[in-house]
Symmetry: C3
């Protein structure tokens, strides 16, 4: 609710802003937020140890039992990692399908390159920044996976298996960023900003929430930031850590880049160019949904908590269903193709539901999941309209889906947590009273909502500000390293695909290809 | 064998029927069958408890052991559920690929919408109707997943994990139904019938076979229906429960709708319009095959039965191989493109094999699986010919693949069950003598074949009759809620995609899109 | 390094060879190699028992524990098998995407048919030849899966589950072979050679390395071949056994077939025709990468070795990243589209990295994996150039990716094995000193490199020679069984797709289809 209201207020506030004014405002905002970050940094003095994840394991297990349970947990985590990796196929299909034909090969290359780059950087520094101990802001051990223990602390999963699970998450974030920047980013510029996002911004800011001693993770505990709140920031599978980081970085990129040449916005009598291959986009959506069953249920890092993983899987499903439903209805009632059942909004709607449930999936009920997803469907509809109004060109809706719904989902925990569920652990759940998470709608106090708001807005603003500054720097470089491609790279024959990659996405009319002597005569079509 | 003969007899019987006469006959048949259902209903008096699934667990396990085995079973079931969900991507690709371009977005939207709707309905009522106790015809507990135990009775899997596995099955059935109705169903009509299929018809009729006290599940046991038969109805993973229900509902819809405008049948000098994107169809077929490894092996709900899950996976593979092979040969020898290797029949052939093995996969040998699949390949070829002759427009072959081969596969258990295998259970298989299932070809008596025939034909007829009546009602509604879209919705520019969804599937010629000022000059193709 | 150097020497040696001369040379080479094989065969006298896979399990487990661990291992193996099967979807997308439109349906049909054929043959004879005991050259038990034990010896996995895992491997090899033969192979010729590859060549030669008593598996142990070497041939997941066999068979086929009509090579002023559907190719590449997480980590056949499976998964990832990166750079600096970021090379680059790491993935470090993959990216770039220079038409790069990088990866173990890891087993790893594998770069001696070279080159040459002879025989058959399709089958309207399959891949212009009365007027495109 809050997220939507905020967004509509923003909508009014920005009414009438030209892109230039918005740019100025963003500069000021970014400056302020960097300052705020520094203040916050100063408030953190003593980095803590692993906080909220400790598990009160009263049971005594034999060595054989521990070994088997670790195997069960590791199988679960690795299979989940593979499913998360499959999301790359889904993302690339979604992005390609919603893009114009002339930027298709570019989308493919960016996603593939980012996936390769992310692996190497996350091995070298990313995993260390994010998951090793250090201080509240950054981890500084385990570079190049050196000096790691066998098992990731507090889990039954080897570090080397935890790495690939977290790599797949980092890669997801990295791919999201490319979404709102489709069609006008030079490939060398993509290389530069991807190094920043994948190697530094995502893992370092991710450390705040998921690092063993991150300041948001340890928040509210004795000796740490905001002890009086009594609550840490919770993000079960990454509504904020993965999706909002990706979405906000993408927004910063889209604003710095400006829209694609020839892109006319709704208020100027145009609209989003239609996706060039909707079957590919829709199938990509389904593959993303499939991969989300690794993303969320796998985030227990444990399959001994069988009710927990079942609940997460079911909640994930129902939130997607809710989001698809409401986004379809919103577009049917209020969309530019009023009265029609819009495919693009429906796909983005179920993705919005999936993004939103990613944070609260462990702690809410199935009904809560439907409602959280349902609201997300409206958020994504409104978000697309807001961006269109603000003349920000986001070809696939990356910002509303991942950025805005990530924030909504993170906040929703403070409303919908049922108070029945606590923390998961390698050998089962711990639902003892001290660990239970209860939101406002279930009779809890506002402390969880406050912790969630503090975490998600801080991260959203920090990511936007830092990425915006980085994108500005890359935008100031000379060609070909400049963030935005040369104008003739966008408008020339074959578009960005031919300019940066020397290839077109499809060759369906083979007579255009020089295959001397191949063709007897023009092909004719017959019924099979 | 029986299924084929029956089908050929039907073929003769219907020779010369006009669509109108067939419609009349169907009306009469439907009426009779509703009556038959009522008689059958009256015969069932005392709903029983969980029947054939009881497991004679003589072993004593420690609490830790039980906990670990439940985890192993739950991981297995959840991973299987995810694979079954992946079948949605496969189905949508298959349907899109075999459809005409003008109905592509519609197919995508129907499958996505059905998936969302199914989640919400299966949470609210479907799971309760199907899997809770009640009487032989319907379950009436656990609505909105309230009042459920932790574990689904007789398994080591939590209800909340069992739900998502069964949701994925329900969604599969729901998607099948759309198959034979492609290209002329109004979207609001789709919404209405989908509520009926997903919320009521599938789960209630499914309860008969898979509910803890379903009359077909408890059939043959003391105090239940047809005690003297001594056999219950067996459908391991749903040849009948999922596929025949889906296929027969689809048939009813296709008959009520009539063919697409402009569809000329083979006997009138035409033929099925060619699929508009065969790569997508074929890849969809492979993804379906992949997802079937969740569908069948996951239906043990147990991974402690390691030989059982291995056998099911291997049998599933070999039946697909057999079906693909024979359907290819049938089309090569007898198809309209005689002498050529037909892709569409080959894909539908391996799917036919998969559908057929779904019921008997646990109880037959690898050789039996090849033969069952091989026969299914012929069934699907003959079935397509029969529908074409009867002037029923089934654009993707949903009725022959799912409807007819589901029946064949269910019957095949009565022939091919080897007599070596009994029932599976959460902590291992129980192959004690009393549980063994032996078919006619292995020296068993005809009782299993009788039980299978009774179950599959009753369900097929009941589904057809009820769905037919429902479709007739929706067909009688005024536009836009009428089942069939307005004629200009089919024939207008952009077809059904533009009419109901305001979008075309592909935008490959970008100069048709209004991107003022974007293009310097016409693009030309070059060699990469 | 060695592999690249060898290749460049070959490059010089073959400079100026006409296709005819190369054909003659290949004949002589093939003859010599068949002779060499016979000599090698004579050297093997006593077939041994399971060699390198024995596991020193000092631990004592209860029956319940053993049962649970076997379940964990079987779940792991089966899920891995399903992922490997998913690679079929990836392969077919990759092949289709890189092919020309006119040979698309043919590619689809070949992959589907091969998958069906492979199932039946691998059930009947293939698994027996490969995995049963016999002598060093061939297994001769377990035909039609008769007489098998419950568990595959030395593992916790049932034979019936091991079968499907190995079937998916065999099917992968089978599909690779079709890669370099795209576009000019008659379908009946495909049937014939596929029977040879799938039923005989792959499983029999695979037996040498992976059979319980294969001469390469038992090599270096007392009483077996080359006892003084003291090392057996190691191929953890099949760089040589699956990929080099597939790649070398494909090379033999491509040479016997000759290039597609109208194919002009780079040195003659032409180049590879562009892939007709790059989104499909790139997504196929991602799905292959996803499936590789079954291929490599699943090859432990055990999930009790949790650090082992984590390490394999992470190494697999990093090698792919390295290969994608270096191939992109190679094409950027030295490719025909110099200065552009080439999609096709980047995709083939990460696949090259995956192929290369398949053999050494268990024994190397993450840094080693990056380097092995990185070298593979260069190997694939150079390999494509060499084939183009030699006027061998390999439409998708199957030979460089699978053939050459399979050899490189196999050799790389001898360089990069860290000496920290030994053998895996059903209940955990055995890293006792006697089992450790240490390569040259980590202070080991050259014995491992020698064993690897002996194994991979022997297999590569044997496969090439035998397949070449088989292809020559099929090439000599009369039409339609001849290996190469009639010329008008390639050049006629609709190309090979219409000639052999009676269908075109896409029907995007519906007015070409005879749907009398359907269309009101020409469709026009609008903005959604």
């Amino acid at each position: 609710m809050k997220a939507i209201l905020t967004k509509y207020n923003l909508f009014s506030a920005f009414r009438g802003l030209t892109p230039e004014k918005w740019g100025q405002g963003a500069t000021i905002l970014a400056g302020k937020m960097i300052g705020l970050m520094l203040v916050l940094a100063a408030m953190i003095t003593i980095p803590g140890l692993l906080g909220t994840k400790a598990h009160a394991a009263a049971e005594v297990y034999t060595a054989h039992e521990t070994s088997m349970m670790n195997s069960i947990d590791t199988v679960w985590t690795l299979v989940a990692a593979f499913l998360v990796f499959a999301m790359q196929a889904g993302f690339v299909m979604l992005e390609v399908g919603f893009a114009r034909k002339r930027e298709t090969v570019n989308v493919l290359m960016e996603c593939i390159f980012d996936t390769c780059l992310c692996g190497i950087l996350f091995y070298a520094v990313g995993y260390a920044f994010m998951f090793s101990t250090g201080n509240g802001f950054i981890g500084y051990h385990w570079f190049f996976l050196q000096g790691t223990p066998d098992l990731y602390p507090g889990t039954g999963v080897p570090v080397i298996a935890h790495w690939i699970f977290q790599y797949a998450f980092a890669d997801t974030c990295s791919t999201i960023v490319s979404g709102a920047m489709i069609g006008r980013t030079g490939f060398r510029g993509d290389i530069l900003y991807s190094i920043g996002i994948t190697g530094f911004i995502y893992p370092i800011i991710g450390h705040w929430a998921w690092g063993p001693d991150g300041w948001l993770a340890t928040m509210g505990t004795a000796g740490h930031f905001f002890t009086s709140l009594g609550q840490g920031f919770r993000d079960f599978a990454g509504s904020t850590v993965v999706h909002t980081i990706g979405g906000m970085a993408s927004l910063a990129g889209a604003i710095v880049l400006g829209p694609r040449i020839g892109r006319i916005f709704a208020r100027d009598g145009g609209g989003m160019p239609p996706g060039h291959n909707l079957p590919m986009a829709a199938v990509g959506g389904f593959i993303l949904w499939f991969g989300w069953y690794g993303f969320n249920p796998g985030s227990t890092l444990s399959a001994m908590d069988i009710i927990g993983i079942g609940r997460v899987a079911t909640n994930t499903t129902l939130a997607a269903c809710g989001g698809g439903f409401t986004a379809m209805v919103a577009a049917l009632w209020w969309g530019s193709t009023r009265g029609k059942f819009d495919l693009a909004f429906t796909v983005n709607g179920f993705l919005a539901g999936l993004v939103a449930i990613t944070c609260p999936c462990y702690w809410v009920s199935p009904l809560g999941a439907i409602l959280i997803g349902g609201v997300a469907g409206f958020v994504v509809f409104a978000g697309v309209k807001v961006l269109e109004y603000m003349r920000i060109d986001d070809p696939i809706g990356a910002v509303p889906v991942h950025g805005f719904c990530g924030i909504w989902g993170t906040l929703s925990l403070g409303l919908f947590a049922t108070g029945e569920f606590g923390i998961t652990g390698p050998y089962g759940a711990d639902n003892s009273a001290a660990n239970l998470v209860k939101g406002l709608f279930y009779g809890g106090d506002a402390s969880i909502l406050k912790a969630q708001a503090l975490g998600t807005f801080t991260i959203a603003i920090a990511v936007f500000a830092i990425t915006w500054a980085m994108m500005k720097v890359i935008m100031a470089l000379p060609h070909p390293w400049k963030l935005r491609v040369e104008a003739h790279g966008e408008t020339g024959p074959g578009g960005l695909d031919m300019f940066d990659h020397g290839a077109e996405a499809y060759v369906l009319d083979e007579e255009d290809v020089d295959l001397t002597g191949l063709f007897e005569k023009k092909t004719t079509k017959v019924i099979a």
